[in-house]
């Protein structure tokens, strides 16, 4: 059973839609550009052992107030306020790509509130010699090849399917544009907003997860993250950029093994 609640901060100028499920220690999960809906088989599996909260980023899927947030720092503060509003003292954080950046920012700025940190192909660092793909703007037809290890797989085809009716198709396009625009605000035009200067503050034990066939965010970045977060472990999983969706069971097991109880 998934609880679907709106949680407001700042006198209601920012409201998060939060999907929650499960029991056990708190885990907060942050999504990226190309995950619709907020809940997933990966989270479902985590919810078997943890209380999982999956907030949708402001501007996405019912969460509102992105226009009042100035920058990444403001977004980080807003998420810390969300933890207060949810009554969570400290939690483990899991974040994918853009969500990984958010989780890392929180762990760097509010280290006391983060028990353990799991970064899945995170965004937020930049290398001129290995730029991450411009996933925010890739046309829909080009995305499966960038996102999935096997673009012909069932999961990739399901992801790429477009509604038949013109009305639904327009609505889907608008949803996609709004979703990407809401996150683009914090990483445009290059996703390097100073995190590299803050990562040394991360105190939580950290696991970096990567799909071994990630064509969108080169595995080369994994070393970069390990170098900047002392003691971070790296684990490669069989999958592409959408590894959490391609192998949800394997990914959830890897995360649970790291988080323990």
């Amino acid at each position: 059973m998934i609880e679907d609640t709106m949680v407001s901060i700042r006198d209601g100028t920012v409201s998060f839609r939060v999907l929650s499920s499960g029991r056990g220690p708190h885990v907060v999960s942050f999504h990226s550009f190309h995950e619709r809906g907020g809940w997933s088989p990966f989270l479902e599996r985590l919810a078997a052992r943890y209380t999982v909260h999956a907030p949708l980023h402001p501007g996405v899927g019912g969460s509102v107030g992105v226009e009042t947030l100035e920058d990444v720092f403001d977004l980080t503060l807003a998420y810390e306020e969300l933890l207060d509003a949810l009554g969570i003292g400290s939690a483990s954080l899991v974040g994918h790509f853009f969500g990984g950046m958010v989780a890392a920012e929180l762990a760097a700025v509010f280290s006391e509130r983060v028990a353990r940190l799991v970064l899945v192909s995170p965004l937020g660092l930049w290398r001129d010699d290995a730029p991450s793909a411009d996933l925010l703007i890739l046309p829909h037809d080009d995305l499966p090849a960038a996102l999935f290890r096997d673009p012909a797989s069932e999961v990739a085809r399901r992801w790429g399917a477009v509604p038949e009716s013109e009305e639904e198709s327009l609505a889907a396009q608008i949803e996609s544009i709004q979703r990407r625009a809401s996150m683009a605000k914090f990483v445009w035009p290059i996703p390097d907003k100073g995190l590299k200067k803050r990562l040394h503050r991360v105190a939580a034990p950290t696991l970096v997860l990567w799909g071994d066939a990630d064509r969108a965010n080169p595995v080369a970045y994994a070393e970069e993250w390990q170098r900047r977060i002392k003691g971070a472990a790296l684990r490669l999983l069989p999958g592409g950029h959408m590894v959490l969706h391609e192998v949800p069971e394997v990914a959830a097991a890897a995360v649970a093994e790291f988080l323990g109880q």
Binding site: V66, E67, D134, L136, I137, L138, P139, D142, L170, Q173, I174, S176, I177, Q178, R179, R180, A181, S182, A184, K185, W188, P189, I190
Partner: protein
């Protein structure tokens, strides 16, 4: 009726297979295609064409701003306008315009436009576009989510800098200046006329009408398709209580004039085709950054002027289709006169801008087109709006 000569300054030497080999004419066309020697010549060719237009009786000369763009070699229209102020003496100098959000601080625009107004002795029209997504989000790296907000704030700053008598502080969300006090101030009072080039954003219509500016639709797809947008503007205008003075509106139309209809096809088709197939070949990913258009505009279901869908439509075009769909008004003087009159009437446009240099069109042909248009067409559409006063024309030009 005011008739203005518009120049995009396109690079005329893209390879024949450009649209098949390269994904985009805008944002990332490779430099290897750019020949500086040729471009040096092009600038003089284009300026000659603009200056020639004044001698032929055009009311205004229009320049505009693009970046990383092989069909618009004018990152700084102000430089072009500056040279025109010295070589012309009668025509309005219409800069359409400076994309306010791209200037830091936006006071730079207030200053340069003031300089142009003084240099031209009050012939400047100040254009303030939001700027295309390709220019602003991709070439200049401005975040699409805040672009419009930055634009509105910059507009307020520029207008205050031109009109407030005192030195003042401006504490904006995007720009903070402790001492706003631009020297020089513009010649025209209270400020040069303001025209807003738009691409069909719903919000821009109302905003423009409310502030009593001119709305210009710079479309490449002609008057038939432009009607929905101009109707949208006129409806928004009525909603905010503005009158229906046609001089509130401007429209850009591609035009080719020849002695006969057949001659028009022979002379102009290759250049028109170059324009639509090469110059508008923009990669889908660059057509519109997420957040560039507002939710309200997206909900109207209109598509961007460039990108995959637009490309599909363009690829099927031949001369007859260009004409039938009204993308280009072309033919004998009689043909052009009739269609142009229809364009002006149906869109209710007091400021007509014509694109007479199109795509790869060389100078001799451009001058031919310009002279024929001025002699055989212009006099016949001059008196289209009797009884209306153009309140948006520079005071330094005879009206």
């Amino acid at each position: 009726m005011k008739i203005c000569f518009f120049h995009l300054m396109p690079y005329r030497f893209l390879p024949d297979d450009f649209e098949h080999r390269y994904r985009s004419v805008w944002v990332d066309p490779p430099h290897s295609l750019f020949d500086p020697e040729k471009c040096s010549g092009l600038y003089h060719e284009f300026l000659d064409e603009l200056e020639f237009a004044e001698t032929q009786g055009f009311d205004g000369l229009c320049v505009n701003e693009h970046h990383n763009n092989a069909y618009g070699l004018m990152p700084s229209p102000n430089l072009m306008a500056a040279t025109l102020t010295r070589r012309t003496s009668r025509a309005a100098v219409i800069v359409l315009g400076n994309s306010l959000a791209a200037y830091n601080p936006p006071l730079r625009v207030a200053e340069e436009f003031a300089m142009l107004d003084l240099l031209s002795r009050g012939r400047l029209v100040a254009g303030f576009p939001v700027g295309t997504s390709m220019d602003m989000n991709f070439a200049y790296g401005i975040d699409p989510a805040t672009l419009r907000d930055r634009y509105y704030e910059a507009h307020d700053l520029v207008m205050q800098a031109w009109t407030r008598p005192e030195v003042f502080a401006f504490n904006g969300r995007y720009t903070q200046v402790r001492y706003v006090n631009i020297w020089p101030q513009p010649l025209q009072k209270p400020h040069p006329p303001v025209w807003i080039p738009g691409g069909g954003s719903v919000e821009t219509w109302e905003w423009t009408a409310k502030l009593d500016y001119v709305y210009c639709y710079l479309s490449y797809y002609g008057y038939k398709r432009g009607k929905a947008t101009m109707d949208g503007f006129w409806e928004a205008s009525a909603r905010v209580g503005a009158d229906d003075n046609p001089y509130r509106a401007g429209f850009l139309q591609l035009v080719c004039v020849a002695d006969t209809d057949a001659e028009a096809e022979r002379l102009y088709f290759p250049h028109v085709h170059y324009f639509y197939q090469k110059c508008l070949n923009v990669w889908e990913g660059f057509a519109e950054a997420p957040g560039y258009r507002t939710l309200k505009t997206l909900q109207t279901g209109t598509k961007p002027q460039v990108g995959a869908q637009a490309k599909k439509i363009r690829q099927s075009l031949d001369w007859q289709k260009y004409l039938d769909q009204g993308y280009v008004i072309a033919g004998s003087p009689k043909t052009v006169r009739e269609q142009l009159a229809e364009c002006i009437k149906t869109l209710r446009v007091g400021h007509l801008m014509v694109l007479l240099q199109i795509g790869s069109m060389p100078k001799d042909l451009t001058l031919h087109n310009t002279a024929l248009f001025a002699r055989e067409v212009m006099p016949h559409v001059r008196d289209m709006w009797p009884g209306y006063k153009d309140r948006w024309w520079p005071s330094g030009c005879a009206s």
